[in-house]
């Protein structure tokens, strides 16, 4: 679970000062959402791991310049989701054997169906749905994260949800 805004600012401040335990707290709080978001966009566990890892490595490189008044999560998710979209687009241009990972055994059948259909949407539509319904960003925040007009975010959400509804 991500910590409160105050916790997070304290972790960032102390991580900037060199506290490994605070950096670990920041990592543990944000790993899950970042990895899941990447996975839902790329539908490949190994690629999602690489993408989430790159997001954290980018965070380390920029840590000293990071503005502590801003929340860490959206900044990390912007990197991760944009890279995931790039990866998914490149993958679409490079046909190869389908490598979708087997779903976790405890996942409900309905969830499997939903995730399978999500995987059939375009990377751009997948990304806004993941940001909206997994990471719970508002359309305005998604527009800022992906540097898109708000109307584009709304139309992608609407179109993505309509497609899912039709298929399910």
């Amino acid at each position: 679970m991500a910590g409160s805004g105050r916790d997070e600012r304290a972790w960032v401040r102390r991580a900037q000062a060199g506290s490994a335990s605070d950096f670990e707290a920041l990592f543990r709080a944000h790993w899950g959402p970042a990895y899941r978001a990447a996975y839902l966009v790329v539908r490949d566990a190994a690629a999602a791991e690489d993408i989430a890892q790159e997001g954290f490595l980018a965070a380390i490189r920029a840590l000293d310049r990071f503005d502590r008044r801003r929340p860490f999560g959206p900044w990390l998710h912007r990197i991760v989701v944009n890279r995931a979209i790039d990866w998914a687009r490149a993958r679409a241009l490079r046909p190869e054997a389908e490598q979708v990972d087997a779903p976790a055994p405890e996942r409900a059948e309905r969830d499997e169906e939903l995730l399978a259909e999500l995987g059939r949407l375009s990377p751009e539509h997948r990304a806004v749905i993941v940001l909206r319904y997994l990471l719970e960003y508002t359309p305005g925040e998604i527009a800022e994260l992906l540097e898109l007009p708000r109307g584009t975010v709304n139309s992608r959400l609407r179109r993505g949800l309509d497609t899912l509804k039709e298929r399910l």
């Binding site: 490994a20 670990e24 790993w31 990895y35 899941r36 890892q53 490595l57 380390i60 000293d64 976790a104």
Partner: protein
């Protein structure tokens, strides 16, 4: 939405191992940047003055002038004597040097290699192998712990990059796919001539023959893509010396290399004949 992606915990621990190491290796900005430039300038003045005035400094300058066939050492690197571009790394990062002497800082990378035709570059930073075009645009990245010594080989249509990651030799296709371990051997190194130290002097040997000699230490002797020239890097004299061992022998020096690259650079590659 309650959802867990496959292998989440294992992936988290693997990533934490890489990310923790990167965090431990980072260099926090502890000193206000505004102090750095004046201090560096003062230090540079002191070093240059000491080098010029001290007996070893004078000896180095004298040695270069005395070397048989030395044409005037240029006050800066204005051009390369033959075809190809150089790839070098310094404290500032990775540089691409064109034949006309113009250069471009590609970014903060450590080791680098040209693709077989010199169209792309593979470079490493703390925990990434990165493929770039020659303008510095990133084509793909691969997160791996402590990658080093990349070597890019193959043909125009089928290339691969071998590199070391924590002592393990790995290989990835030129498009960034199919990364896998191939053993624990050392990566191949580009063709270089031999350097020998004798007393306070260094010598460059090409096919068993001494082709250049100077005071202090030579660091590298790198062959040009057409095989006719050697670039001898000479930190003691803060010079690059281009030596053509054939007949007639030619030696062309370029001075003040550290100032031009922000620290004395290491040559990573010289590519390609054209």
């Amino acid at each position: 939405m309650r959802f867990r992606a496959p292998g989440e915990e294992e992936a988290q621990e693997r990533t934490w191992a890489v990310v923790r190491r990167a965090y431990e290796e980072r260099e926090p900005v502890a000193w206000p940047r505004r102090h750095v430039r004046p201090l560096a300038a003062a230090a540079l003045v002191a070093v240059v003055a000491a080098a010029a005035l001290s007996p070893p400094g004078r000896s180095v300058v004298h040695s270069l002038r005395k070397a048989v066939g030395v044409e005037q050492a240029e006050p800066a690197l204005f051009s390369l004597p033959t075809h190809g571009n150089l790839l070098v790394t310094s404290r500032k990062g990775l540089w691409l040097v064109h034949r006309d002497g113009s250069k471009r800082l590609l970014g903060r990378y450590r080791d680098a290699t040209f693709s077989p035709h010199g169209l792309f570059v593979a470079a490493t930073r703390a925990n990434q192998l990165v493929a770039l075009d020659t303008k510095g645009n990133v084509r793909w990245t691969l997160a791996r712990p402590a990658p080093s010594r990349p070597v890019w080989s193959g043909t125009r249509t089928d290339t691969r990059i071998t590199y070391l990651s924590r002592g393990q030799l790995r290989m990835v296709a030129g498009d960034g796919t199919g990364d896998h371990a191939i053993g624990r051997r050392r990566a191949a190194v580009p063709d270089t001539a031999a350097i020998r130290r004798r007393g306070g002097q260094s010598e460059v040997l090409d096919r068993g023959r001494v082709v250049f000699r100077g005071t202090g230490s030579f660091e590298q002797a790198v062959r040009s893509p057409d095989g006719r020239w050697l670039l001898v890097t000479w930190p003691t004299a803060d010079q690059w010396v281009f030596v053509r061992p054939g007949t007639p022998r030619r030696i062309v020096g370029a001075s003040r290399i550290s100032v031009q690259f922000g620290g004395f650079p290491r040559v990573q590659g010289w590519c390609c004949a054209g």
